[in-house]
Symmetry: C2
Subunit: 497 residues, 2 copies
Amino acid sequence: MNDTWQTFRKLTQSLTDLATMGSILSWDQETTMPAKGAEKRAGQRATAAAIYHEKLTDPTLTDLIKRLQDMDLESVEMRSVEELCRKQQKALRLPRQLVEDLARNAANAYESWIKACRDSDFNEFAPWLEKMLVLKREEARLLEVSESYYESLLDEYEPGMKEPALEEILGQVRPHLTDLLEKITDSPVHSGVKHFEGVFPIHVQERFGRDVLSAMGFDWEAGRLDQSPHPFCTGLSPQDVRITTRYSEKDFSVALFGIIHEGGHALYEQGLDPAHHGLPVCEAISLGVHESQSRLWENHVGRSPEFWTHWLPRLKEAFPDQLEGISLDDFMFSVNLVEASPVRVTADEVTYGLHIIIRFELEKALLNRELEVRSLPTEWNRRMESYLGIKPKHDAEGVLQDVHWSHGLIGYFPTYLLGNLYAAQLMDQAAKSVPELGSHITNGNLIPLREWLRTNVHRIGKLLSAEEMISKITGKSLNPDYFIHYLETKFGELYEL
Amino acid sequence: MNDTWQTFRKLTQSLTDLATMGSILSWDQETTMPAKGAEKRAGQRATAAAIYHEKLTDPTLTDLIKRLQDMDLESVEMRSVEELCRKQQKALRLPRQLVEDLARNAANAYESWIKACRDSDFNEFAPWLEKMLVLKREEARLLEVSESYYESLLDEYEPGMKEPALEEILGQVRPHLTDLLEKITDSPVHSGVKHFEGVFPIHVQERFGRDVLSAMGFDWEAGRLDQSPHPFCTGLSPQDVRITTRYSEKDFSVALFGIIHEGGHALYEQGLDPAHHGLPVCEAISLGVHESQSRLWENHVGRSPEFWTHWLPRLKEAFPDQLEGISLDDFMFSVNLVEASPVRVTADEVTYGLHIIIRFELEKALLNRELEVRSLPTEWNRRMESYLGIKPKHDAEGVLQDVHWSHGLIGYFPTYLLGNLYAAQLMDQAAKSVPELGSHITNGNLIPLREWLRTNVHRIGKLLSAEEMISKITGKSLNPDYFIHYLETKFGELYEL
């Protein structure tokens, strides 16, 4: 056993190192690389991916997995073997030609998406999306995860999540969201809102953001904060986790909530068990669970009155003129404004879920040939009006707004909403399990929450599935009631519903 | 032929990409990585190196090389095949065990070197150097480049350079340097030297350095300037070349000459033919030729009165108080001060060569067992006194000052001096070939020089050997007379000898 395991561990360490090389090529490209470097960078990333695939599908590894599966293993070993087997099977099922076709089509689709957005011309993008759907159906068919194409693709991002379960969850959430939105829209409390005005110097924003990250327990010796056009988090190892944000001089909240959001992702990555680094278990459970960490920190903590009781006086010290006279109540309104708008990435906590549900319903219908690509914009706008009560001015702020489908990311959107659901259920439990959690946050002490998350979620890595993790911590399966209750309570109070 | 060549090209492109991944891991470690990332970074770099070695020694590649060698090839193809064959042969000749032993011993030797420097205790380092020499002799023996151990190791850094030729060149240079140093030491002109005083804010230094780099023709869309403890240049591709410098608030010249020096390296990397990227010919000829580019820009351009005729007024605008009243003559003295000192990295143009010659003589004697490790400090100090007329206060500023031997870099030091020789010979030719070169530099126009170097040196890559390149450009083999003549003229005038 020992030799076999050691060989297996060495191979998985190489795989992790290769994945890290891909990550650093990509992090560098977003934050650091000079413009002309892009030409060769694509090839460098392709080489890293190709060698990763080659090593992952190596028959030596298949043989090791088989031998280890016949042995009596501890849980870390067993889960590692299972997870690697799952990854290898997926990789082996996809012929090289399909992988290359998908990559090539994604590159072309992305280019055409850029043009389509610029000209707000869906027809430019339509044939590439059509082609992408053909390839993704083929991928889903070959992956053999499920009879359902959608479930097979979803499994890549949210392992173990079944389509009927997802369908049921989103179906439960939707009417609550539309109902809540309607009530908020009708609420007269609206008019009292004060928006931020003035210029917020970027270096002051950055200093404040760093202070908040420090308070969250972000380890600066094991991480960085940089700038990039689209904020993201990259974990090169638990000891090297990098986040980015983008700054707007007119609105400090863009960068700050970006920092708290990515900071939540970063705490997850920094909290993975470094002793398991290089093993398949030393990874986040799923995209949904990863997103739960960013949403929990951004929304449940970062948009709460407890948090701002401590931080607002400090923010006013940083921006004394710009925030003069603003009260905690005013401030809570400003950072929790609910308003139906056509764009997902700037949506508030209530409407966000509806943006996701629209995408989920449409991408599933497209994949199952229940909706034709040429009818997509009409159907998009119809649902926007039905769920959100608004109509995009044009396709660029409508059906074309997200990059995901051009990259072939179908089945990905729901993980954003699942993140909100996991966050609410976890936070409900944290409030019960962490003594005096509210007062700690009010006093600026965020460490007890981070410690609770670290112990219960971060350290676990992939030793549990998402379902096992949430059941173990909260005693229940994933249940949308927590999220619905959280929204209805929070916004009920705020808008006096 | 076409298919075989295309397969070969694809494989060499992968090798280049893998080497780039190693470079980016290392660049990131020096400039960007958070402290705790170091623990896993070593393993990531080892994985990149191991996969590179595996791909380089792949029998498919051996077979391709054999088939291509039997074909009628154009020069780019032919040189590429030759160069890759050379690299593969070297890689195949070294058993895995030796490579691992060398890496492990280097890691240990480096750690012990750090301690030895701290305590100025050569005995701490001695056993690891001893072990390193045993391994390097074994490496030299297996490489089978030459009967001479030294030549076999030298060939890694300066391909094609023979030990007797190097011996003769250094033998010719030495008496001229000691003689010149003696005359300068005796010159009464010394006393007039003005040193820089005051505080030079780092952001102003950086802006000035960037202006100089821009004037040199550094392409900012294909490169970066950052900070690191030890300045260096990394070429990830001709379109992504990164240099670093270090700043001292008390002395702007540390960073500035660092920038010009690394800028010279960078122009070489940016000037490689991008059409050949991924082929073994798209690389610098040798370390010596690489160093010629940094030295040419740093010393022949950056320490010349022509250069400062244009730049001194600008430097005085940047630092008006700090440089008030300093004349061009004063300034030339300050940046060309010759003074025997124990440390190589801060040595002037005259004494620098003597520091190298001492290292060359001693490392050769150690390798050939003509000198025992335990006698090294005594022998070091003896030569310092004999060539430079000074004695290090202790081993930390003497025999222990350089990291190279701890890394196993034996045969590397001479390339620094060869760089000076190539630089002088190239600059002599440039003065003849580039019309009005002196007035261009006086007017701040450095582009004609960069263009000449680009056409004659940079674009060539490894299509020519060092010997072929220098002969083609100057009509002569590498000849130390140019360097000697340059030094004797320059410092003869400065010190009125």
